[in-house]
Symmetry: C2
Subunit: 368 residues, 2 copies
């Protein structure tokens, strides 16, 4: 498929200015549109490779994977497809382009990163007992735990197979990096399970930030680093782009956690105060719990019991009153600033860096 896909669609339009650290303000339609264009171009480039990999699975596993990616309904009939935003493959391709490489050469690597992401989603949903993903019932609720575990295992293997069979000189380093990243993702998920099992006063902000970096930042960083490896970049540039993705990933997680409390249900597709209803120890919550304020103490009390009538609103006010919301937004801006520093180190020319910048701003500015 690589010879027929017009990769010029992946190219960011010239931006003509540096966006700097203005991250969390109002949505700027033009920029969001540009990121949306990059994302849909990445989807267009990577989907055929991704789909071919999934179609190569034996029937039993294929069915589960096709359902998970939104390409089939549970009964095996074709579905319109809702395989997510393709942020990670878009980062791979944008990183290649930013460093002067040919994004077409990295389509398989981008698909491998997306397969890996989806392997972790399948397993995390089993562990977290999450019943909904991309507005549909999760695979384990439809096929059972074993099938979801096996489909995830197979996607991890497919990702590595794709890189092992890629003759590109960047492939072995990418495979090693992706495998190391999987270990970090597993450690992050483990830390998440441990933190969720603890009492509200037994969780530190440093632990939660480290968990979020491993669980979310690591794969965004890895996607960028793999793109750099495919562009033939040196070690310093690869590491800087890893840092860019990691920091942007943490900013993304912080904003995601803010949305989990204050997001508009009409836009998020989740109930209001969704994270509070399950007493999730998200970053704004843990910041509030650690604040030493009366509101933090009130929140700890509310988190220590089954939520009753009006408790969710009380919790949201307590997190805000304790400074958890402000902290999360400021900390997201700080992480985004660090991300931009890493990006400037890897790609000094702002015009070349535009695609990566647009993607990072897209994921941190979204409101749902």
């Amino acid at each position: 498929m690589t010879d027929t896909t017009d990769m010029t669609e992946c190219a960011p339009r010239p931006r003509g200015r540096v966006l700097g650290e203005r991250v969390l303000g109002e949505q700027v339609i033009g920029e969001a549109y540009e990121a949306a264009e990059i994302l849909s171009a990445a989807r267009l480039c990577v989907d055929p490779e991704l789909r071919a990999a999934v179609e190569s699975l034996p029937g039993s596993l294929r069915r589960i994977a096709l359902y998970h990616f939104g390409w089939e309904h549970a009964d095996g009939t074709p579905a319109a497809g809702n395989a997510g935003k393709a942020i990670r493959p878009a980062l791979v391709l944008a990183a290649v382009r930013a460093l002067g490489g040919d994004p077409l050469s990295a389509v398989r690597a981008a698909a491998a990163v997306e397969l890996t992401h989806n392997f972790t989603l399948l397993h995390d949903d089993v562990m977290d007992r999450d019943a909904t993903r991309r507005h549909r019932p999760t695979a384990w609720t439809v096929f059972g735990d074993s099938d979801a575990i096996l489909a995830g295992d197979a996607l991890q293997a497919l990702a590595q197979r794709m890189l092992a069979e890629d003759p590109h000189p960047g492939a072995p380093a990418a495979a090693a990096r992706l495998a190391a990243c999987v270990v970090e993702l597993c450690a992050g998920q483990h830390a998440d399970c441990v933190l969720e099992s603890r009492g509200p006063d037994e969780v530190s902000l440093a632990e939660c930030l480290a968990m979020a970096e491993a669980k979310t930042g690591a794969l965004l960083g890895c996607a960028c680093a793999i793109g750099a490896a495919y562009a033939g970049a040196g070690v310093d540039t690869v590491e800087a782009l890893d840092g860019f993705g990691r920091q942007a990933g943490l900013a993304f997680q912080l904003i995601d956690d803010v949305i989990g409390i204050w997001g508009d249900p009409a836009r998020t597709g989740k109930p209001a105060r969704a994270d509070l209803a399950v007493r999730k120890k998200s970053l704004p919550v843990v910041a509030a719990l650690a604040s030493g304020t009366p509101e933090g103490a009130e929140l700890a009390g509310l988190y220590g019991r089954e939520p009753g009538q009006g408790d969710l609103e009380r919790m949201a006010r307590a997190v805000e009153g304790a400074g958890g919301r402000d902290w999360a937004q400021l900390h997201a801006a700080d992480r985004m600033s660090r991300a931009l520093g890493e990006l400037a180190r890897a790609v000094p020319d702002p015009e070349r860096a535009g695609g990566l910048l647009a993607l990072a701003e897209f994921v941190t500015r979204r409101s749902h």
Copy 2:
């Protein structure tokens, strides 16, 4: 470690004769000793690499993996270690040697195969709710399902990382082959779950044999094929050694299933009639069910209800009366004969083939 380990211990002693198809007779002490020597030499060569990989995991995951391999107790104190027989790594090294390669060059690949095997054990035990492995409580019973799933995921990643970082020219092909094998292992485990959920009259022998080939044969074949790839062998030889391992793996599974019914509890460490007690659809059982004999019909009746007093003995007699035991032993001999045919195709010199032959005979002749 590779420069200090004496790999000459891996060498089979000259055999001076071809063993032919005499597979399932009485144990020949001299040969078993030779196989035991090969296995313990493989353990000695591969363990440091394996242990280093596991030690490289982040603390939370390391603890689970060290427990699983028998290197630590559940409380984290050191244990004597009982990491299994190392059949798969021994096959990798024996295949390299049989084809005139340097086994030392394939120690990492052998460790990667063993990591992959252990990843599937961790996950299979979760799915099958198996509570005992190598005479110890399984990881999920000690650490919970999530931890066992995550440790398994991390071991799969470690295996691929090890091959991706191996500069040996055979490594990329080995990585691709191992990843493809994981998909087959997952499909085999899926088929196993499906077959176990069906009624005793809804399972065909062909389905069960295909499942056993995917679940057991595939990785033994892959181990041999990876050894061949590391020895620089051509496609035909690689495929013949894959076939050798696959057929020997099926012979192994058939004998394992016979032991699951008629094995001596004092030697197996499992209760008598262990597979019958859980009404497992093992190969002798399915052969009996499909036999069209009165004993087969009796067995179907016994498998359709909770086992009562004396039922396990009745089941064992029914399987035997229906010809299930004889069929399994003859079929194992047939598979072993096919294995030897593949081996002769890959390694025409019987002396060179001796190590692989001794391993295949060891796994099919064992009585526990």
